[in-house]
């Protein structure tokens, strides 16, 4: 049987969800026989490929890069999973939304100018450093999301449960405390 073509992406998040994925430990070895990791921060592939079966998206949509990327992912992926609270609720990255519109500018000002000990200045490198969006969004506010795996980060056994459900051809279905935010 062909292995499931799986990708994982890292948008505006802390990489904790990916760390939790690595916490699958020896289960990763079993998984490796059944999935093919075609794109991920864990491997060295530059361009998001076509015909991906399953994508786990970590992180909120925070900047223009994230926005382009999530549209590209949706177009090239069968099943999209919001993976962790930043993807599901926008979580900590979205705290800046409370500062109102134009917070993209004010947070950079605070971090890179007011908080700078030396050489203060807003980072500006068009084409390299993506501009912040005015409003940080959970993934499903931008594209259709098939399934949600909440948690900050989602514990490894929840990830394992979802992967097993997908691999056995069942609908991924977490229940009760498995759906806890935070």
């Amino acid at each position: 049987m062909d292995r499931l073509r799986v990708s994982t992406v890292w948008l505006g998040g802390c990489a904790g969800c990916h760390m939790s994925f690595l916490d699958l430990d020896e289960v990763l070895i079993e998984l490796a026989a059944r999935i093919e990791l075609v794109y991920s921060p864990l491997i060295d592939v530059k361009e998001y490929p076509e015909n991906v079966d399953l994508c786990l998206v970590e992180g909120a949509v925070c900047n223009e890069d994230n926005l382009d990327m999530i549209h590209k992912i949706r177009a090239r992926t069968k099943v999209l999973v919001s993976f962790g609270d930043c993807a599901v609720t926008a979580n900590v990255p979205a705290i800046r939304n409370q500062l109102g519109l134009k917070n993209g500018e004010s947070v950079l000002q605070r971090a890179y100018v007011e908080g700078a000990q030396a050489m203060g200045g807003l980072p500006q490198e068009p084409g390299i450093v993506p501009a912040l969006l005015d409003r940080v969004m959970p993934v499903h506010e931008v594209v259709y999301v098939d399934y949600f795996v909440p948690g900050c980060p989602p514990p490894a056994d929840h990830i394992q449960a979802v992967m097993n459900q997908v691999l056995s051809g069942a609908e991924p279905r977490l229940q009760g405390a498995q759906l806890k935010f935070g």
Binding site: D85, Q98, C152, G182
Partner: protein, 238 residues
């Protein structure tokens, strides 16, 4: 006291005529989800989580403030109710700023627990991201308006168990907020006795003991029940 006979989810029960649907259901071992209800203080029907269907009445009724009646046929588990409960929880999560990962109440929060028990895996409504303050002016307690549901449990315990009357609601609609005395920093209140009952009553991370950090805010609600039982029944049982 006269008894009323009625059915809840098809189960024949009899209940005291003064009982609410919520109390009658609890006696019959049927759990109805609640949020603003708190044992020991009167009910106000603020959160709408306990809505039930009653045959012959087209609108949904809050179980916590509706009295039983003879022959009532009540349903607590229809698809419509399940749908509304989930909607209510999602709206509560979208209204203020709930960032569970960094919340004092993470893991001990009634809103969070209800949400996962009702299958909320994401919020379908756009989050409001309002700007709210944290009042840290009190010597012992803090109030984070970002996490408040306006359930008014704190107000009710403050007025009706402690009798201090410090806590109140000011404003209307989405701008409504919990205030201390004449809308002043909590720490400057003359009436607050520092009893902490409001903190014990709060279902979320909105009221907390100072010094508690992420996930540390556990509360002892038994203390409230103990005081109420002692006062009403003159029984000093823990």
């Amino acid at each position: 006291m006269a008894a009323k006979t009625l059915t809840i989810d098809g189960k024949q029960i009899s209940a005291d005529e003064c009982a609410t649907i919520l109390e009658a259901a609890a006696d019959a071992g049927i759990t109805i989800p609640t949020l603003c209800h708190l044992e020991g203080v009167y009910d106000v029907g603020a959160c709408r989580l306990c809505l039930v269907e009653v045959t012959g009445i087209s609108k949904l009724l809050p179980a916590c403030t509706t009295k039983v009646a003879e022959g009532m046929e009540i349903r607590t588990d229809t698809e419509r109710l399940i749908r509304y409960r989930r909607m209510t929880l999602e709206l509560l999560l979208a209204e203020r700023n709930h960032v569970c990962a960094v919340c004092v109440a993470n893991g001990h929060c009634e809103l969070q627990t209800l949400a996962f028990n009702q299958g909320v895996d994401h919020v379908r409504y756009e989050y409001c991201f309002p700007k709210w303050e944290v009042d840290n002016s009190h010597a012992l307690f803090g109030m984070d308006h970002n996490r408040c549901l306006l359930c008014t449990r704190c107000v009710r315990v403050c007025w009706h168990i402690e009798g201090a009357g410090t806590k109140n609601v000011s404003g209307r609609g989405a701008k409504a907020r919990i205030i201390s005395d004449l809308n002043q920093p909590w720490g400057t209140s003359d009436t607050c006795t520092k009893c902490g009952k409001c903190v014990m009553a709060c279902p979320t991370g909105a009221l907390f003991y100072k010094g508690s950090t992420n996930s540390e805010m556990e509360r002892d609600r038994d203390k409230l029940e103990f005081i109420v039982t002692a006062r009403e029944k003159k029984q000093w049982i823990a």
